[in-house]
């Protein structure tokens, strides 16, 4: 199942091209220019954190990579394949790219197990039995096996978000996009979700993470990108970017975060 999917997105890892290559990406909503020429490359197994004020374009960038938003200019390559050219099979691209949203977006009319197995069964054509077996293994790995028969509204926010991550992982993606996944959570529920992400990072998952959790970004990211005004203003290893930011806007942003006691 996975082998076949990997074959259609490009050359095998690790010698192949970058996992993500973004060139001159522009996107606007009406008159509002949200992404103003983004260039970014992400190597396989790399973990990138996107930071920046609300409205700086982090979420839009992630949604573009998942093809949830059509782009205006530029291109996006995944493992060397241009996914923004016309005629691309969007569903096929999305099966390799998992995305997790701020608001969880679980399907409220399905149990946890059905939430996780729906896409493998209906999009990949896996047998229900096999999909459930794999789903249970994933749920167990993230401490959610006892919730498999529950409906989402029975779960805490942290549990829901972990289920959303498991649901994305069930498609065996090669890239995970996390869009402020802890922003909607009560403070005491943030840690359990961050632990899951740490586990994913240590298993070698390539990830692009939009986040406001600076200390988390600092210890998980290989590279941190600071976005402002729809551009990547500054990027570098977290130790560098957080301690000696060069750009004036980055400095101002980090100072405000520090003043708020978030770093």
């Amino acid at each position: 199942m996975t082998g076949e999917l990997r074959a259609d997105t490009g050359t095998p890892e690790p010698a192949g091209p970058d996992a993500v290559g973004i060139e001159g990406l522009r996107k606007s909503f009406g008159a509002n220019l949200v992404l103003d020429g983004i260039d970014l490359s992400v190597a396989s197994h790399e973990v990138i954190c996107l930071i920046g004020a609300s409205g700086s374009g982090k979420s839009t960038l992630l949604r573009c990579i998942n093809l949830l938003e059509p782009i205006d200019a530029g291109r996006i390559l995944l493992w060397g394949q241009d996914i923004t050219r016309p005629g691309i099979d969007q569903n096929r691209v999305r099966r390799n790219v998992g995305i997790v949203f701020q608001a969880f977006n679980l399907f409220p009319h399905m149990t946890v197990l059905r939430n996780v197995t729906l896409a493998p069964v209906k999009a990949l054509g896996a047998s229900r039995r096999q999909a459930e077996q794999e789903a249970r293994a994933l749920l167990e790995r993230f401490g959610l096996l006892d919730k498999q028969a529950d409906y989402p509204d029975r779960l805490s926010g942290g549990q829901q978000q972990r289920v959303a991550i498991v649901r994305a992982l069930a498609m065996q993606p090669r890239l995970m996009l996390l869009d402020e996944v802890t922003s909607a959570l009560d403070p005491e529920l943030v840690a359990e979700v961050l632990d899951v992400i740490r586990e994913l990072a240590s298993s070698g998952m390539t990830m692009l993470i939009a986040t406001h959790e600076m200390s988390f970004a600092r210890d998980i990211a290989n590279r941190v990108c600071f976005l402002a005004g729809g551009r990547i203003v500054e990027q570098g290893p977290p130790a560098e970017l957080f301690t000696s930011p060069r750009d004036e806007r980055t400095q101002r942003f980090l100072r405000r975060i520090t003043d708020a006691g978030r770093l």
């Binding site: 949830l68 995305i99 949203f101 009319h109 896409a119 999009a123 498609m171």
Partner: protein, 299 residues
């Protein structure tokens, strides 16, 4: 004449609030006693008004004559009239056939109208015009047009159906337009983020619609849908104008033969017996839905 709101319906501001107990009776122990007493007073007043009216005896004889009510319920073909009770069976069959067809046709129309692909534009245009036209034309005119128009076309199969079949066709044409709008409201009630979540997992547009959007949409529209079907049950009586012997037509034949209107009261009672359970079932679903929403916190 309207006066202040009756206590039996609770405080005006209680509308939409969470309450245990029956909405119809109001809440609290005192409310049941008050609503019982006021119901008795109102009914007694209406009964007195009816019995004391100058024409009361004549009306009772022509509309509520037990012997004639019984005769029309059973029917007597030799005397020239049909059983209203048996004729109701045709209403039920027409209702069931129409209901299934409406559910399918209306869903198809709603999905077409909700699509945003340019390829679908001609279909979208046709279904928009269709909904506008059939919501605007009175049902009785649609029944006439189909029931008398199609046979006049002399078009073989299309022109040789029974009155009941033409009636069902007219009901389906008219009601599908309404019900498609109910479906559309339901589809719109499902948040766009559910579509994004489904598509982001690699589900096709059709799969997302079928497994994620529609189940949630249908759950939201069951009460209005049942409301339309209560209305449909009654409207099967209109097919009598084409000559189909349904309950209303049978009652009409009885009154023309025996010169007594009690048969219409029988038909009315039978329709009530048919529609009231569905109405109560709808209320039950609405109440259950509200409880679930409250229990679940959000959504």
């Amino acid at each position: 004449m309207l006066g202040p709101p009756q206590t039996s319906f609770g405080e005006p501001d209680s509308f939409g609030q969470a309450r245990r107990g029956s909405r119809l009776l109001g809440s609290g122990r005192g409310a049941v006693a008050v609503s019982t007493a006021s119901t008795i007073v109102v009914l007694a007043a209406l009964a007195a008004l009816f019995l004391l009216a100058p024409g009361s005896a004549a009306v009772r004889h022509t509309f509520f004559n037990p012997a004639d009510m019984w005769k029309s319920l059973i029917g007597d073909p030799r005397a020239g009239y049909y059983s209203v009770g048996e004729a109701l069976w045709l209403n039920i069959r027409m209702f069931l056939a129409a209901e299934v067809l409406i559910l399918i046709a209306a869903l198809a129309i709603a999905v077409v109208r909700q699509s945003d692909s340019p390829v679908m534009f001609p279909l979208r245009l046709v279904s928009t015009i269709y909904v506008d036209v059939f919501r605007g034309v009175p049902l009785i005119l649609v029944i006439f047009a189909i029931g008398f128009g199609l046979p006049a076309l002399n078009l073989g199969f299309v022109s040789t159906q029974s009155a009941a079949v033409y009636g069902v066709a007219a009901l389906v044409l008219s009601y599908s337009a309404y019900v498609s709008e109910v479906y559309r409201a339901g589809l719109n009630s499902v948040h766009q983020s559910q579509v994004a979540a489904a598509r982001s997992l690699g589900l096709s547009h059709t799969a997302a619609l079928r497994y994620v959007i529609l189940p949630q949409a249908v759950r939201n529209i069951i009460p209005p849908l049942l409301n339309d079907f209560i209305s449909l049950q009654k409207d099967t009586a209109l097919v009598g104008v084409l000559g189909a012997i349904e309950a209303n037509k049978a009652a009409e034949i009885f009154s023309d033969t025996v010169f007594n209107y009690s048969s219409y009261v029988v038909a009315a009672i039978l329709f009530l017996i048919l529609t009231i359970p569905l109405a109560r079932f709808t209320d039950h679903l609405i109440a259950r839905d509200r409880r679930l929403r409250l229990a679940g916190g959000t959504t």
